[in-house]
């Protein structure tokens, strides 16, 4: 993992940058279908294909935020539809925990999103893509203020015990 890259200053016409992790079997195919159907949506997301939403390591999300992403979108299969039986359940468990951690760091929860989008739901893919951009534009660029003394270890522990 390399050093974080400086996030550019907010400008007029700010375009949020989204890193998307899509499951190979559902959301990635929905994105292909949106293309074949010539649907139009916001161009902000950059898709990284994984075999299963269960492959998305929380560290990937951290890394994306640390390197200038304004939002991260994870797309997986609906419950009961996972190509690998239950990877999406594991993705959800990690996602909920990760969201708490991110919120604790001052990252708005709208910046991270987990969506179940089947291979047939190109319209949902389009709507989510566009909607997320609208939400992120309202939030503006990601700004995480790290306290000068760093995050307090006691606070972290209190959060974990809560």
């Amino acid at each position: 993992m390399s050093e974080p890259i400086a996030v550019p200053q907010e400008k007029a016409g700010y375009e949020p940058r989204i890193v998307a992790f899509f499951c190979n079997w559902c959301t990635y195919l929905a994105a292909d279908l949106a293309g074949t159907s010539r649907m139009k949506y916001a161009p902000n997301a950059r898709v990284i294909r994984v075999m299963c939403s269960g492959r998305v390591d929380p560290q990937f999300v951290m890394e994306a935020f640390a390197n200038g992403a304004d939002g991260v979108l994870i797309g997986g299969c609906h419950f009961g539809d996972c190509h690998y039986e239950s990877g999406n359940h594991k993705a959800l468990r990690r996602f909920l925990l990760l969201k708490r951690v991110l919120v604790g760091m001052g990252i708005e929860e709208e910046r991270i999103r987990l969506e179940w989008i089947s291979a047939a739901e190109a319209d949902k893919l389009r709507d989510v893509m566009t909607e997320m951009v609208v939400q992120l534009k309202a939030l503006g660029p990601l700004q995480v203020e790290v306290p000068a003394e760093g995050f307090s270890e006691e606070a972290d522990l209190a959060e974990v015990r809560a």
């Binding site: 898709v47 294909r49 269960g54 190509h83 990690r94 047939a120």
Partner: protein, 663 residues
């Protein structure tokens, strides 16, 4: 992090190819700017644009550059990897590199086709290519492993699609398990009278195929059976089938039907499923005269013996020493190993009571088309006489098209067969009764061989066509027993009210009620509308996203018999191609453990749905044969000691940096 060992000195030589796809990509993405950009990326030796990278000359470019310019990594930015990843991996391999020294970038489906702003689409293409260039440096040489394939095949559903697929494969000397949940094979086609547009008798062309299924030694036919669960993977499926009790010993029953006559029920009191409830059957019955297997079945719900245990069992008496009746049968399960599965579970017809104003189930003279099929059929409840429920022969008949089709309130899709079967029914009713027939249609869809000609023929026979959707059906004043059809004739531009003796609703085609369960059992996908989704609508129409599982017939979408049979043949050919080769090559995206880094914490073990991970000598160990490559354990490993081929952590981190890097 060091780039993968490339060319001995750690400096990769990457070739980037930007496909224009005719104008599919170049119309929305500035491909020249993208090429210039790619050429400037670190590690990139050359970048080329080309009109069609998937063409032979396009692939040749890759091979020549590998050899002439010593490329050791290849990136192609073109369409979706689901289309051409295999193509370009092969080209990379033919150029002399490991096929996995390749990375594909999707700038068509997920870029050019979905964005309007050319600058934004061009920026996106650049970011995605930069990510691939970053990533591909870390690619490792990988080998596909070969796994043997089980030689047998399973076909689920015994309608015309399943029958055709089973026979084709059995004739190629493959063993086929044909699973049908009803007591007989035949499906909907067995219920039809004539078939459009040639008017050949459905039973005459179907029955020989049904008998052939029973006679073919390569086919194991299981009726009253359903698939409970499917385990395994392409080439090696383990399918558990649930056998429902027939209460008849199949080997002992000779199909004499004496038990039906002998039943204590003098007349049937249960609606006959095959005649869509237009006649009644006894608790012991044969589904229809040509049923295959030609065996009776006992309906547990209706039989007195099951209700009270005190029936005289006259059926058992008459069966005598054949001893074919066995009230003690219970559900059993059986597991078989197959290499491929063809799903041919068919369709159901639309339930017209969902549109109450058409009056089905309210006015006795309102029928569905399937009910009419039974009425015109000489083996049907009226022996082929088209009569109303009060016994009168209708003099006027209305046929209303598009019931439950082409309507956002019910189903958006066109059911494809209704126009043609409506024309066929119009012809048959007119032939049998001489009635005046009014077709209410939105559009007549008579596409396909011989269809328009058939439409013209029926029109020339004097059948009336009114372009308009019936908005209301109500009883005629007085005790005429007729219903009035009210519709706007959109060609005349006025409302018409036509009283008819009989109304036929051309109900559409829908997915089976349990299609969702079947989909989950086989791990396949449903498209919009609930029909099973094919891998590619044009180029892989019978494949699914699950390798080794194929589709045939109307479970994939509404289709007529000729198309169903053709598709069943295609599905059989695909399944044959798989099992006949004898092995499958597995994508090498499995997970593996870096043993020296593993702390033995066991976090990964319960996460694996395939129990591929075990603990050996305090360390995790992954069985590569069982691993399917989801990567869930990789993401969970606290020490990072589980890795995944093709989706290594550093490969994904490089992609993240690549898409986000500012240049």
């Amino acid at each position: 992090m060091n780039p993968a060992d490339t060319n001995g000195n750690g400096q990769p030589k990457i070739g980037v190819y930007v496909c224009h796809c005719g104008t599919n990509i170049s119309a929305a993405v500035d491909v020249e700017a993208v090429r210039d950009f790619a050429e400037g990326l670190p590690g990139v030796t050359l970048a080329r644009g080309y009109k069609y990278m998937c063409s032979d000359p396009g692939q040749e470019l890759i091979k020549e550059d590998i050899q002439a310019n010593g490329l050791d990594r290849v990136v192609v930015a073109s369409c979706s990897p689901s289309l051409h990843e295999t193509t370009f991996r092969r080209a990379t391999s033919e150029g002399g590199l490991n096929p996995y020294f390749f990375q594909m970038v999707n700038i068509r489906e997920q870029d050019a086709w979905v964005h309007i702003d050319m600058d934004a689409a061009t920026d996106k293409a650049k970011d995605l290519i930069r990510a691939a260039v970053h990533r591909v440096r870390f690619h490792k040489p990988l080998e596909r492993s070969r796994v043997p394939v089980k030689p047998a095949v399973m076909v689920v559903g015994g309608g015309i699609a399943g029958i055709q697929a089973a026979l084709t494969m059995a004739n190629a000397d493959k063993h086929v398990f044909l699973v049908e949940r009803e007591p007989s094979i035949g499906g909907h086609m067995a219920q039809f009278d004539k078939t459009f547009p040639t008017l050949d008798c459905a039973a005459c062309i179907l029955t020989p195929k049904m008998t052939e299924v029973r006679a073919n030694p390569n086919i194991t036919l299981w009726t009253m059976a359903e698939v409970d669960s499917v385990d395994g993977y392409v080439g090696n499926y383990s399918v558990t089938v649930r056998h429902k009790p027939r209460f008849i010993v199949e080997d002992a029953c000779v199909g004499c039907l004496d038990c039906i006559d002998a039943c204590v029920f003098k007349v049937g009191k249960t609606p006959d499923e095959f005649n869509v409830g237009l006649s009644m059957r006894k608790p012991v019955y044969i589904p229809f005269p040509q049923a295959v297997p030609p065996l009776v079945v006992i309906d547990q719900e209706a039989c007195i013996e099951f209700k009270s245990g005190r029936c005289k069992k006259t059926c058992v008496e008459v069966c005598a020493d054949r001893n074919a009746i066995d009230f003690t049968q219970t559900e059993t399960h059986e597991t078989v190993e197959v290499g491929a599965i063809i799903i041919a579970t068919g369709f159901k017809t639309f339930d017209p009571t969902r549109i109450p104003w058409y009056g089905h189930g309210v006015y006795p003279e309102v029928y569905t088309a399937l009910e009419l099929e039974r009425l015109v059929n000489s083996s049907g409840p009226t022996e082929g006489h088209v009569t109303r429920r009060d016994g009168r022969t209708p003099q006027t008949v209305g046929i209303v098209h598009c019931i439950g089709s082409r309507d956002i309130n019910t189903n958006e899709h066109c059911s494809r067969v209704c126009c043609m079967y409506s024309l066929k029914l119009a012809h048959l009713i007119k032939e049998k009764t001489g009635a005046e027939i009014y077709n209410f249609y939105i559009d007549i869809r008579a596409a396909g061989k011989g269809m328009e000609e058939f439409y013209n023929r029926v029109a020339e026979e004097g059948v009336h066509f009114i372009r308009g959707k019936v908005a209301d059906v109500y009883p005629e004043d007085g005790d005429t027993g007729r219903v009035v059809l009210q519709a706007e004739d959109t060609l005349l531009g006025r409302v018409r009210k036509i009283p008819v003796d009989m109304l036929v609703l051309a109900t559409g085609v829908e997915p089976q009620a349990d299609a969702e369960d079947v989909r989950r059992t086989f791990n396949i996908t449903c498209a919009g509308g609930g029909f099973f989704m094919e891998r590619h609508p044009k180029l892989a129409p019978v494949s699914t996203f699950t390798d080794g599982i194929f589709l045939a017939g109307a479970c994939q979408g509404p289709k007529d018999i000729p198309d169903t049979v053709a598709q069943a043949g295609a599905a059989a050919a695909e399944a044959l191609a798989l099992v006949d080769r004898g092995y499958v090559e597995m994508e090498p995206n499995t997970a593996y453990v870096v043993t020296e880094e593993c702390s033995g914490c066991k976090t990964c073990i319960p996460l694996c749905p395939y129990t591929a991970i075990t603990r050996v000598d305090e360390k995790a160990e992954i069985n590569p044969v069982l691993c399917k490559g989801c990567g869930t354990c990789v993401a969970a490993c606290p020490s990072g000691s589980i890795r995944q081929n093709l989706f290594e952590d550093e490969e994904i981190y490089e992609e993240i940096l690549g898409v986000l890097a500012h240049v």
